[in-house]
């Protein structure tokens, strides 16, 4: 009750300054009147004297009023609220400045918020699970090979029994399984064979049915599967009766027992969950399938103490089982960091990225400061009057800061809305292109921290945009006041000149970046792969790699047979011209290694393993020597075919046929590999260049083709040459694959010319960003030039009037006005051109020494000419900003001009 009383009392008093003032004034009036009446009545004093005595007894009305006001507190807030109101009025009164300045600040805040969000996401990932920061990942580190030993089933079973500091120890095996939907469509789904306690680590109620339970893991339990939301929606048409159905999954059938809600992807980004049954696998130490092990820190246990326990366990294992465990070190780490443990350099990068965003804000806001300075300068008389009425310099600075803060507030709202839109639209895709598989906890959205950060940026921006001009405007305000003139004291000094020149330079330089990006886009799009890629369909085919070599041989033979069968059946489809296989597709980027030729030349070459029919299906004639034949497929076959890039760059155009090379010793590999025999390969043929370089690589690759038997690798790319649109063959390829071998997984069915699409997407995104940046810079420079010039003209009205009155020609007047902005814009254009030139040289410098002409990396002559034309255009556009103020100046009537003082 007392709290309520207090709150009520405070509220009533705070409601409005004006109301409270009036109320106490009325009370005091009443008091004085009553006291006057009492004195008249009781002591018989006449009314004038009675009032005087009453006032004396009251003791200074104004003093008590002031005491009352102070007692209410938050006095400065009253002033602030006035400033805020004034700030909003300014937004409406100067719409041009609001739009330009606000847009620029909003852009800065947008960039800042998005970078901060993404950087935080990568640098400090958090698991969106209850107690997510206590979920850990366990693994064995092979210290001798410096890599993880994922075959840890034996250790998992042991740790599950013995570990005290980690509870709910579970494991999953990452598999891709073919799931057949009711309409017969077969597609691969990322499946986690996972222990049931995963659903205790990530406790999520299923949308339907149930999650996996320990009973599912017992030997002989019926096979079950839990569906992910997207699989359920797209593959089963959101069937509400899906629970209980039996679906073909991999090599068996499984009963659907549940459907998980949207967004559930534990352990990483999985869409199907099946029980993990350790008894199905080889449980010997360092054998069995690769698995990942997770758990939760026991209550009260720190990561350090868990580490200590695992280290102790590891030492014991190394002692007890030296053959397998001598070099194994069990490790425990935070689950969210499993894909990316930011080191010192990564943290530095994150700082640098955020630092760049902050610099952008500072730059943008210095420009806005220029505009606000021009505005403040036009309000100089208002500020002078305020100062004369007793406002301190700090008070006036606070007022201008508040005005900038209002602008910043509006900009923050716009910037954050745009960031929200951008993140939800492109954030995930951007991360996926850059990191590959996207774990479920990488969910880019506006976090509260990001919003706070954006507000911080806005305050920083307002401080720059508001305080800087305010300090400049208020400097010497008192002196000006004494001089009694309200003008002539302010000028645009060197700082603002520098700001304008920088802006113009940026406006000139940014289009060069746009052009470079555009050029890269066009280059990648128009890359000549040496054959009509749009007539070909590519499909990735893969099977699981068995852990032990004996099974692997069987599997390899089986895969070979399956692929052979697929070749036969797909080739028999109507509209199919030819079918072939390779390990990678043209323009995908191929593995590279250094070779030594007969002499001692060491060159980096790109390698591809292909089916002997590859060149024939791609329609690439053999330029010299012979093509591959089945005889080359023997295990110790040493015949290779090279492309023209190899001949030109490695052999300097000399005859290739019969030349031999072998791989260089890999300095990174350990002792055993170094002692391996390094066979000599013989070049038997030369073929034209068929896209052996990656899309973003510049220059020509030196390609070497090795013949490979079908099934020699666990994954292969099938390339189908079709008549007409090859994408129509896609569904047939999938159907044939599942008919031939249910374990054969089909991924990435795409037209062969679409391989570079993700890269093109990313470049296009950057392109759009740069265009936006350019537009903002252009807008800011124009507004800045316009503002400064109008200000100058307004200042020089009298001078212009006098000149015109004394008979100066219009041209002279215009020249006098234009000289300064012309110089500034000119300097800016020159600075921008120098920037482009420097950038071009720098870009050219990046290209490795592969005999490429420098011009290819930078800009062509035509583009330089285009940029020059653009610079001239910029000059014109900037001068356009001068037109309005100049016309205003020329319209000045001499008499009027002389009267202004």
């Amino acid at each position: 009750m007392s709290w309520l009383d207090g709150a009520h009392g405070r509220l009533a008093l705070l409601r409005s300054r004006k109301d409270a003032d009036e109320r106490f004034a009325s009370e005091i009036r009443f008091h004085i009147d009553m006291e006057t009446a009492r004195l008249q009545r009781e002591e018989g004093i006449e009314s004038g004297e009675a009032r005087r005595r009453a006032l004396v007894a009251f003791g200074g009305v104004e003093r008590h009023k002031e005491a009352l006001r102070q007692g209410r507190g938050l006095r400065w807030l009253g002033g602030m609220s006035l400033d805020f109101r004034l700030g909003f009025r300014m937004l409406v009164k100067y719409p041009g400045l609001t739009i330009v300045g606000g847009l620029a600040m909003a852009f800065g805040i947008w960039v800042g918020a998005v970078t901060f969000e993404l950087a935080t996401l990568v640098a400090h990932p958090t698991l969106p699970l209850p107690g997510g920061d206590r979920v850990v990942l366990l693994r064995n580190w092979d210290a001798s090979a410096s890599r993880e030993e994922p075959r840890a089933l034996n250790d998992f079973l042991g740790w599950r029994q013995t570990l005290k500091s980690v509870t709910d120890v579970g494991a999953y095996r990452d598999v891709s399984l073919n799931l057949t939907s009711p309409d017969g469509d077969v597609r691969t789904a990322a499946t986690a064979e996972i222990t049931a306690n995963a659903f205790r680590i990530a406790p999520t109620a299923p949308l339907m049915g149930r999650v996996l339970v320990p009973d599912d893991e017992r030997a002989g339990a019926p096979p079950v599967v839990v569906l992910g939301y997207d699989v359920w929606r797209t593959r089963f048409g959101s069937d509400s009766h899906v629970v209980g159905r039996t679906v073909p999954l991999g090599e068996t059938y499984a009963t659907v027992v549940g459907v998980m809600p949207k967004g559930f992807g534990f352990p990483v980004s999985h869409e199907l969950w099946t029980p993990f049954r350790p008894e199905l696998y080889d449980q010997a130490p360092r054998a069995g399938p690769p698995i990942a092990i997770f758990g939760r820190l026991a209550p009260g246990v720190t990561l350090e103490s868990a580490r200590a326990e695992l280290t102790a366990l590891g030492q014991r294992a190394a002692r007890d089982r030296p053959i397998t465990h001598e070099h194994l070190q069990p490790q425990v780490g935070r689950y969210a960091y499993q894909f990316y443990e930011p080191g010192l350099s990564e943290r530095a990068t994150m700082f640098a990225i955020n630092g760049f965003a902050i610099m952008l804000i500072v730059l943008v806001c210095s420009n806005v400061a220029l505009l606000l300075f021009a505005r403040a300068a036009t309000r100089e008389s208002e500020l002078t009057v305020r100062s004369a009425l007793g406002a301190s310099r700090g008070r006036i600075v606070l007022q201008l800061f508040t005005e900038a803060l209002v602008l910043g507030g509006v900009a923050t709202a716009v910037g954050l809305a745009a960031a929200r839109f951008g993140l939800s639209r492109w954030g995930e895709e951007f991360l996926r292109v850059n990191t590959g598989r996207l774990p479920f906890w990488f969910n880019p959205h506006l976090s509260p921290a990001t919003v706070l950060y954006a507000i911080g940026l806005a305050v920083l921006g307002a401080a720059i945009a508001g305080v800087m001009p305010a300090l400049k405007v208020t400097r010497g305000l008192g002196a000006r006041l004494r001089q009694g003139t309200a003008g002539g004291g302010l000028r645009f000094g060197g700082v603002w000149t520098a700001v304008i020149i920088t802006q113009v330079a940026a406006t000139v330089a940014f289009p060069a970046i746009v052009m470079l990006e555009q050029r890269e886009l066009v280059r990648i799009r128009s890359l000549d792969v040496g054959f009509a890629a749009d007539e070909y369909l590519a499909a990735g085919l893969e099977v699981d790699v068995p852990a032990d070599s004996a099974t692997a041989r069987v599997q390899s033979a089986r895969l070979g047979a399956s692929l052979e069968e697929m070749r036969r059946r797909v080739a028999a489809e109507p509209g199919v011209v030819g079918v072939t296989f390779a390990d990678r597709l043209p323009r995908m980027g191929h593995p590279e290694r250094r070779i030594e030729m007969d002499g001692s030349t060491l060159r980096e070459v790109a390698m591809a393993s292909i089916d002997p029919s590859y060149f024939e299906v791609l329609g690439a004639p053999i330029l010299a020597g012979r093509s591959f034949n089945t005889g080359d497929l023997v295990p110790d076959g040493r015949a290779v075919i090279v492309d023209r890039g190899f001949v030109d760059q490695v052999l300097a155009g000399r005859n290739a046929i019969g030349r031999r090379f072998r791989f260089e010793v890999n300095p990174q590999s350990d002792q055993r590999a170094a002692e391996e025999p390094r066979p000599w390969y013989e070049i038997v043929g030369v073929v034209k260049e068929l896209g052996m370089g990656g899309a973003t690589e510049r220059g020509r690759a030196s390609g070497v083709y090795f013949p490979a038997a079908l099934g020699s690798s666990s994954e292969a790319q099938m390339i189908v040459h079709g008549r007409g649109d090859p994408t129509t063959l896609g569904p047939r390829v999938r159907a044939i694959a599942s008919a031939v071998d249910p374990t054969l997984r089909v991924a990435d069915v795409q037209r062969l010319d679409k391989v570079t699409d993700p890269i093109l997407w990313a470049i296009a995104l950057w392109l759009r960003l740069t265009v936006l940046l350019t537009a903002i810079a252009l807008l800011l420079s124009l507004a800045g030039i316009y503002a400064v010039l109008s200000f100058t003209v307004a200042r020089r009205t009298r001078e212009i009037g006098v000149r015109v009155a004394l008979g100066a020609s219009r041209r002279r007047v215009v020249t006098a006005i234009f000289r300064r902005p012309l110089t500034q814009v000119g300097l800016g254009v020159v600075a921008g051109t120098v920037l482009i030139a420097a950038g071009t040289v720098a870009v050219s410098g990046w290209v490795p020494d592969q005999g490429i002409d420098l011009g290819a990396a930078g800009l062509s002559l035509g583009q330089v000419a285009l940029l020059m034309a653009y610079s001239v255009l910029m000059l014109g556009v900037c001068l356009l900003a001068c037109v309005v103020p100049t016309r205003r100046a020329l319209r000045v009537e001499p008499t009027e001009a002389l009267r202004t003082e």
Binding site: H8, H31, A57, R63
Partner: protein
């Protein structure tokens, strides 16, 4: 130090007198000041205006509340009244005052 103690004491006693006055009936500012002067018999020499900041302070802390009303001579006046927590504060103040004066009395009578 001394000044501070005096002011505190003064403020405390002014609060107490206001409470005491308002515990009888709601009253406007002038009425309270008349009453305070009567009760204290002129001992508490404060100028009348000081009353209003005090009232504002008490209102802010929720011990008194105020509403517009009509005075005896038919004028609009702000009437103050004691809230429930004000009443409790009065009792506590009275209690401690009594204890204090009783203690003082005992010391003075034995001395």
């Amino acid at each position: 130090m001394l000044r501070r103690a005096q002011t505190d004491a003064l403020r405390g006693s002014l609060d107490l007198l206001v409470f005491k006055t308002l515990s009888l009936e709601p009253m406007h500012g002038w009425g309270i000041s008349q009453r305070v002067q009567q009760i204290s018999d002129g001992v508490l020499e404060v100028n009348q205006g000081s009353l209003y900041p005090a009232l504002q302070r008490l209102e802010k802390s929720g011990l008194v509340a105020s509403d517009w009303g009509t005075s005896d001579n038919n004028r609009r006046a702000r009437y103050y009244r004691l809230t429930a927590s004000g009443r409790r504060a009065l009792n506590a103040e009275l209690e401690s005052w009594r204890r204090f004066s009783a203690g003082l009395e005992a010391v003075l009578s034995t001395a």
